[in-house]
Symmetry: C3
Subunit: 242 residues, 3 copies
């Protein structure tokens, strides 16, 4: 299975072109769109988001992971396997949270240059064929060179930032709830926000935090938009009080 | 075939996680996204919308139907078969319009609790595996208990409300046009709106109503947005004058 | 393979209904969403966009190409094959840029009328089954009449208009960069815009033009929105100075 994680936009014209390459190269491999609205150009948020999401898929899945503001520049291109999951994309920090937390990783630099390589769309011309070959079981060893590790390593520690806002207005942080006491109080936009157990229990329009479905602390308002009512955006900082 | 009807957002991170479960459980079954922008939390509008849409698919299709503001709370989870179509989702009114209009229905409550069940994402953890088993022909009888009928029944009669606004700005009502005279005049936002036969016949920027492609009365403006020009939103009331 | 190119909206309720028909008629044929956010009702922009994109797919692909403000009116419905690529949709100019540039084309008018034909959704009722039959290798000769050529021919010459704005705010023109000197200066919204080679080379927030990944001149700002910072929209005119 190939899983797509990008900031290409689900209703924009890039994903279809990637899928054309995947279908030509690995027609029998299913493709799932995980997310195309990763925060634009925001490598750090995207790295934490991908780290929270990838284990929803089966080991052996190949992630086409492309949030790539430096496309066409000197950043390198890599293939990484981490605890049985494959990742293909830029070496710009996007895979670094996963790498830092994994038990075991191997890394290859992509040395291959395709005949046609648009400087602005390595996703289509470089990463898509590599991902397709791997997913089809044709590991392209002649196009890769094994390497020690990622060059760009972003901070893999939990931060206290909003990394994603869903269309309901729920605000996801990179704070893993496993390490947070259930009576912790979050300071969000000047307010003290307490834990709620489920949407149905929270009073309408009262902000609460909860462990979301991928194990992160998320700020929410029942049947309302936490982003709007608290004025939050991707990058906003929250503080754990106790 | 599995058909997805949700308010999860087409470009958000929920649908991909549902598809991961479907692909793992029923890899050979095709999945079609019918709609992921059902009006957020709006069970009544969604119930009428789903009732208007499902017969575009073949009998035997399994609908993953999840608009679920009470997720994690006391509302129950059900499987319904109505005139040969299958529905999996919450018993919160979402299936009740279909149930009320169907010739024959059978209903089961989901008694199974998966090992991992996120209180905020029953779609992924509970409804997706059940839908996948049914679509794959492995009816999970041991995880279900047959039941008399839905507990939550919303009003199945046609209402005169806007239930959906498409991206062009066309405003769909829950009024089935089969029961409406072709010379009926609709009172919409203080204006009298008459029937038009097709977009090409209407004068540019004049509002008209017509029978849309799923049999509902829809308010439209040729090559323009009826929602904008008339100030309509989901929930706005229209009145049939004669 | 069937490729979808429409202005139906990726998160709206139309694409799923089209896919239901395709799945029923040609279940073994893969379907790729190329674009559902072609500029609403804007045939000329869409025609240039489709002409720039279709060769990213393999010959033999069948394009379901529907931007159709005159649906239900007197415009005709056609099947065109151009240099090995198939197109199914309205004869309203949408295919005319491809037709004008192709080495060889053949054209058929659709004479078939399906039993159920919604005046507002020929995409689902007329074009989808025709596209599916062709893609499945069952050319529906009895439903078509060969014809000399398209009736509606829009201007196939490169224009100097913005035809598409992506979600980053990059502004695509219909000007093919192959015919533009690399030292050409574009006059855009009162500013002189020079060529940049890649996003990574441009100073942040400085507008530049470049050859985009489908061979068109595109106005961009590194890690920012050219549309916003220059006040551009689809239809805005740019001028090549030298």
């Amino acid at each position: 299975m190939i899983v797509l994680f990008t900031d290409f936009g689900a209703d924009d014209l890039y994903v279809g072109q990637v899928k054309a390459v995947l279908a030509q190269t690995a027609p029998a491999v299913p493709v799932i769109d995980l997310l195309h609205s990763a925060p634009n150009f925001d490598i750090e948020s995207s790295a934490h988001l991908l780290a929270a999401l990838y284990q929803q898929f089966s080991p052996g899945s190949v992630f086409f992971a492309v949030v790539d503001p430096g496309v066409g520049g000197p950043r390198e291109s890599v293939v990484m396997v981490a605890d049985g999951y494959w990742f293909v994309g830029p070496d710009n920090g996007l895979m670094s949270v996963i790498a830092a937390r994994a038990q075991a990783t191997r890394l290859w630099r992509i040395t291959w240059q395709p005949e046609k390589l648009s400087p602005s769309f390595h996703g289509r011309d470089l990463f898509a064929p590599i991902a397709a070959w791997i997913a089809a079981g044709q590991f392209p060893a002649d196009k890769l060179a094994e390497s020690d590790g990622l060059k760009v390593k972003s901070n893999a520690a939990d931060s206290q930032r909003i990394i994603y806002i869903d269309h309901y207005g729920n605000c996801m942080t990179s704070l893993r709830s496993a390490g947070v006491d259930s009576d912790a109080v979050m300071q969000v936009a000047g307010r003290a926000v307490r834990r709620g157990n489920a949407f149905c229990e929270a009073k309408l329009s009262e902000a609460f935090w909860y462990e979301n479905s991928v194990g992160l602390v998320e700020i929410a308002v029942n049947q309302g938009s936490a982003a709007q009512s608290l004025g939050l955006q991707v990058g906003s900082v929250i503080t754990k009080q106790k």
